[in-house]
Structure formats: structure tokens, C-alpha cells
Symmetry: C2
């Protein structure tokens, strides 16, 4: 069923998108301000269930591209996302029936809603990452055969670039990243244009709804147990299993912006000082180790939450002394196939570990 997304949904959606951002994805609170303004000017956004999209419809996803460190300091001011969409439509010679997120974590859960509000296009409740990832080839769309090319990149000066690397999505990312750096570190993009049939086949379904559900569960659980409330809310989704990996205080953060990415590591100590958590990230959290043992691995979600409120904490805002609960969340089957893991599993990030589902590494009884 399609539904109308209004200003009232945005607080929960932003919180949920930050959880699904697993530390990266750009700050959804910034995106929220943009969506709020667009909805105030143009009215609510129609969100389409993927099952409602015609097989023949053309869907063009829209997004922001850039290092979160830069995004945080450089708000999209103009019409760049629509400019990218229009450039790709013109290049293809076809108008889009809908837009869609490429990633449901972080600011990119919001950008298609801005486009939807401003253009009147519906937004499909699905995405191509099922979380946030740092690179454009890391999308289930591409994993299952939809090429990212041609893609359009729009800069804040009205510059438009259309990139076509055929079926080589990694090469597309490489060139688009170069263009984005020349545009000042942030750009807006339209890519992975596809049919409704391809949406149903390759997208992770209902991830806008998921973000909303996650954000709402955390809010409603405050005062009692927000983590338990979140775990309960996830049980009926494709992200079924939540495991508490660690509780403690942030002891160390090391972060640098390099080749257009935010890379680094963080460490936390348990409250009794007996145990140590280590996180590595490239924009997003990639691996969590406790006392040297792997507890959760990309593409499963590793989320750092503030200990009392379960408010998500991005790698940009990690600080010494923060009291945190770190949770692992299982991802849908479509994200754990061998093709998917080859594109965005541990090896794709240069990690030496074989992927294991978080629910297998951490049995339900053993958590905490």
C-alpha cells in the first residue's frame, strides 16, 4: 500500500536512518531539514511499496555522494538532486515514474524524499544497500545485474556530468569520485536507472518503512528499555536478529579523511575495565572485535548507540568518554549471498575474515 510521508514522520525516520547508517551514510539530521522544508513548500511525499511499482515503470534512484566529513559542513543548497535526475532522464530520453534511495542509511534515506516532494514523483520504499556503504558499486542493484551506468553527477554550480562505464560499476565509482572531489567533495547523483521488475528483483524492500520503524521503536522504548524495544520491532522484518555486542565507554578514536573517505578506528572499554571493543570503519563500521575476537562483520549492521537513550552515534560524533551500547543486526538474505559478499563483504574492504552471520557468531543466549 502506498502511503503519505509527512513532516511528522521525519524525526523517527532520521533516527532510524542513522541506525541503519552504521556510523556513516552522512548525517540524516541535515537531510531531515531539507525534507521538512520541501514538504512545507510542496506537501507530503507519496511512498510506494515495491510491489505496487509497474514492471515496465522507469525508476531512477537519487542520492548524495561525498565524504561525510565534508557533507557535514556543506549543505546542499540548490536543486542539485533534481538536476542530476533531469540530466539522466534527458540522456536516456525517458522520464522517470518514481525515484528511490540507493541507500537507506544516513542522509541518502532523505535525498529522494526531497526530490519526491519537489517534483511530485513517488518514492519507492526500497534501496540498493539495505544500510549505508561507502562506494557506488556496493549496491544489490549491481550485484544482481543492473548496471549503475549511465549515471549523472550534479554540482552546486550547475555543472552536470554523465558517466557511462558500461557494466563496470567499480570504474563508474572511480570516475564519479574524481568528479565529486573536483566539485568540492560533495555532489548529487542519479544512477542505476531500472524497470519496476528490476526493483522487485534486486532492491532490498521496505527499508524506508524499516528506518521509520527503527526510529519509532527507540523513541517508544525510552524510559523502559529502548534496545529491547528495537529488538522486538526488528523481529518481524528482514533484519530479524539483534545482538548486543558490547556495553562500555569510548576510549579512543582515530579518524582521517583520505581519498574522499572517512577512515579510522575506535575502541571502547567495558564499565568494569575487563573487556575491550575495537571498531574499524570506512565511512561505515566494518568490523567489531571484542577482546580480539570478531563479533560482527560487514554487511551485517554494527551500530553504536548512546547507552541511556539508544540514540545512534555516527563515526563523526564519536568522542572519548561516551557511554555506548554496540549492537549487531542481521541483514536480509539478498545481502549475504556469495555474489553480494564478493561486492560488499569483508574481503571487499580488505578485511581478512570470512563472513559469518552475527546470529551465528553471537548466540541469542550469550548476548550482553
Amino acid at each position: 500500500m502506498s502511503w503519505q510521508l509527512t513532516e511528522d514522520h521525519l524525526e523517527d525516520l532520521a533516527r532510524g536512518a542513522a541506525v541503519l547508517g552504521t556510523g556513516g551514510g552522512g548525517d540524516p539530521y541535515v537531510g531531515r531539514l531539507l525534507v521538512r522544508q520541501a514538504i512545507r513548500e510542496h506537501g507530503p511525499v507519496t511512498v510506494l511499496d515495491p510491489d505496487e511499482v509497474d514492471d515496465d515503470a522507469l525508476v531512477i534512484p537519487t542520492a548524495q555522494m561525498g565524504a561525510p566529513t565534508v557533507v557535514f559542513e556543506k549543505l546542499p543548497s540548490g536543486r542539485e538532486p533534481e538536476t542530476a535526475l533531469a540530466a539522466l532522464e534527458k540522456h536516456l530520453g525517458v522520464r522517470a515514474s518514481a525515484t528511490m534511495p540507493i541507500e537507506c542509511g544516513g542522509i541518502n534515506s532523505m535525498i529522494p524524499l526531497v526530490v519526491g516532494a519537489r517534483t511530485g514523483l513517488p518514492v519507492v520504499d526500497a534501496d540498493g544497500m539495505g544500510r549505508a556503504f561507502p562506494e557506488l558499486q556496493m549496491e544489490t542493484f549491481g550485484v544482481y545485474g543492473v548496471p549503475g551506468s549511465p549515471m549523472a553527477v550534479a554540482g552546486e554550480g550547475g555543472e552536470v556530468t554523465v558517466i557511462d562505464t558500461g557494466t563496470d560499476n567499480r570504474r563508474m565509482e572511480w570516475i564519479a569520485r574524481g568528479v565529486t572531489i573536483r566539485l568540492g567533495g560533495v555532489a548529487h547523483i542519479a544512477e542505476y536507472s531500472m524497470s519496476g521488475a528490476d526493483v522487485k528483483r534486486t532492491a532490498i524492500p521496505r527499508t524506508l518503512s524499516l528506518a521509520l520503524r527503527v526510529g519509532r521503536a527507540i523513541r517508544e522504548g525510552r524510559g523502559t528499555d529502548p534496545i529491547a524495544c528495537l529488538a522486538e520491532a526488528l523481529r518481524e522484518t528482514l533484519y530479524r536478529d539483534l545482538r548486543v555486542l558490547f556495553r562500555g565507554k569510548i576510549a579512543d578514536v582515530e579518524r582521517r579523511t583520505e581519498a574522499g573517505f572517512a577512515r579510522g578506528r575506535a575502541a571502547a572499554l567495558s564499565f568494569d575495565g575487563e573487556h575491550k571493543l575495537e571498531l574499524e570503519f570506512q565511512n561505515e563500521n566494518l568490523v567489531a572485535r571484542v577482546d580480539g575476537e570478531v563479533r560482527c562483520l560487514v554487511p551485517d549492521l554494527i551500530c553504536v548507540l548512546e547507552a541511556e537513550t539508544a540514540e545512534p552515534i555516527t563515526t563523526e560524533t564519536l568522542r572519548y568518554g561516551q557511554r555506548v551500547t554496540v549492537v549487531g543486526i542481521s541483514t536480509p538474505r539478498l545481502m549475504r549471498t556469495s555474489e553480494a559478499l564478493a561486492t560488499f563483504g569483508p574481503a571487499a574492504f580488505g578485511l581478512p575474515h570470512e563472513f559469518r552471520p552475527v546470529e551465528d557468531i553471537v548466540p541469542a543466549a550469550a548476548q550482553g
Copy 2:
């Protein structure tokens, strides 16, 4: 009158293009091999006088982009120039009637001939620099109102990028340079698409013929006085005045590849050791000073020629101990207007000098 360019023209053309390259422009001898092969496979190239191009015809110039230092080591192997042309035609939704050089100096005198031989398109005998320049906004086309955008960039892996920065040709250069660096330092481009009427209004006319004439005069003058023969050949062209700026031996060369360009300086001492020449270059020679006094300034041509044969020497092949004659050559009026000088005069390269025509700085009687 249109004429057929055959393999027999290539030796003179390459030499002349190297002279007009004023030290840069990429090695035309490499381009010559490509044209020779294309002519052997497909037959001669039709060269069109600009006066013969219909006012309504669409002309799309083609070229190579990249630092000469890289170009020298990385031959274009495939169909990149035609790929760029075809991508721009597709983007515009129109087929080109002809191609044209964007610069008549260096390898870019040759690339449109490769395209002409392979596709059967005629090549217009004109260009947008009247020499070689390091950046894409430095074209008379742009100076007189033809936008470079949209432009197409093709890489050797079949990657195609279309860039549109409206009327901002400097921004186009900036983004295209970033794409070219990501493509490995060299790419092929199609840009400044224009009508035949715009060719007649904005291009420097008959510069392929000019290169051929320059190369032939030097060859025919060997044994007697190739510099005098070159001066004589230029007298009837738009490049009327040749001045000998210096004769001596190269004493020092300093060269680096930086941000995609070859930058540096060179010095020569006169044979009697009494006088010193200094050259500064960014791909091309920008200023020649003798004993600290400016003798010739961009956009006028500063050409380093081997002392005995008048064979042109690029900045890439300048070596300690070479015996050279350095000449200055006046450029057409279209390249010396205030609009033109704002785009590619001394100030555009950060030089502190006001432009003065070489024939005014060095009176005919005083040369040698």
C-alpha cells in the same frame, strides 16, 4: 579549396606542428604514426578550407587531453577519439558534418586526422588555439562566445563521460582534467561543437596548411638557411613576423609534472658566454627573457629549434648542451585582442608582464 591529405604530407606536418606546439602540445611524431596507419587502412583525409564549410553545418572538434609527459609513454591504442565524438553526437542528437583540431600545435594537429581517416569525415583546416595551450578554456572558440560544453571524454577502457558546465569553460576544464587524471592521465575528447558560421567567426583559419608550410620550409632550407626559409614562408601567412631571439647552448632544465601539467624552466648561454636566455613553460613556452629582459610573451610563439637543422625541440626533449636557435613568431590579430589576452595572455598564466607583440619588442633590424 578542399584537398586530400596523404601519407606524404605527414613528415612536414609533424615537424610544423611541433614548431607551433612551442615546446608542448604532445609529441606530433607519435600522432603521425597513428595517422599513417589510419590512412593506410582507410585512404586519404579530405581537408576543408573553412570558407567551404556551410554556415549551418555542425563541426565537432576532437583532441587528446593529458600531460605530455604521460602522453609520450601511453599511445592511444583504440578508438577513443571516435568514441568521444560519437558520445557527443548522441548527446546532442545530431551527427557532425566535419571534425576540426582544437589546437594546431603538437599531437592535436594529428588526432582529428585519425578521426577523419577512420570515419570518412572531412577535417576543417582551422583550430581554436592557433598554436598549443595547456588548458581547454584557452581557445578562441570560447573567447568569442562558443561554449566548450557539452564535452565528451573517452578513456581507453571504453569509459565515456559527458560534462556540461554551461558557458563556464574554465570549470569544464577543471572537471575534465579530474576525469582525465582518473582515466590514467590521458583521455580523448570532443568539445566546442559549433556551426560552420561559428568556425568562420571564431577559429584561427588554415593552421593545418600553416603547419605543413612550416615543416616544408624548414626541410627545404636545410643545407642553406632553414630559419631564413621559415621566415620567408611565414611572411604571407597570419603569422607574419619571425624574430631570432637567441642562439646558444642549453645550460639548465628544470621540469616537473604537477596537477596534470608539465611545468618548469630552462636556461641557455650564448656561444660567447656573454648572454643568458631564460624560458618558463607550462606544457608550452610562456616567456623568453634575454639577460633579464622580456623578448617574447605568450600567446606569441616561442620555439626552440636545433641550431643546424631547425628541427623543433619540445620541453620534454630539452637537454643540457643542445645547440639551439630560439625564435619568436607573431600570432594573428584574433589571438591578441583584449578578450583573447584575458584568456591566454601572460596574466592568465600568472606572469607579471603586459603583453607586447614580439615584432614590437624586437625590431626587425635588431634581431640575431
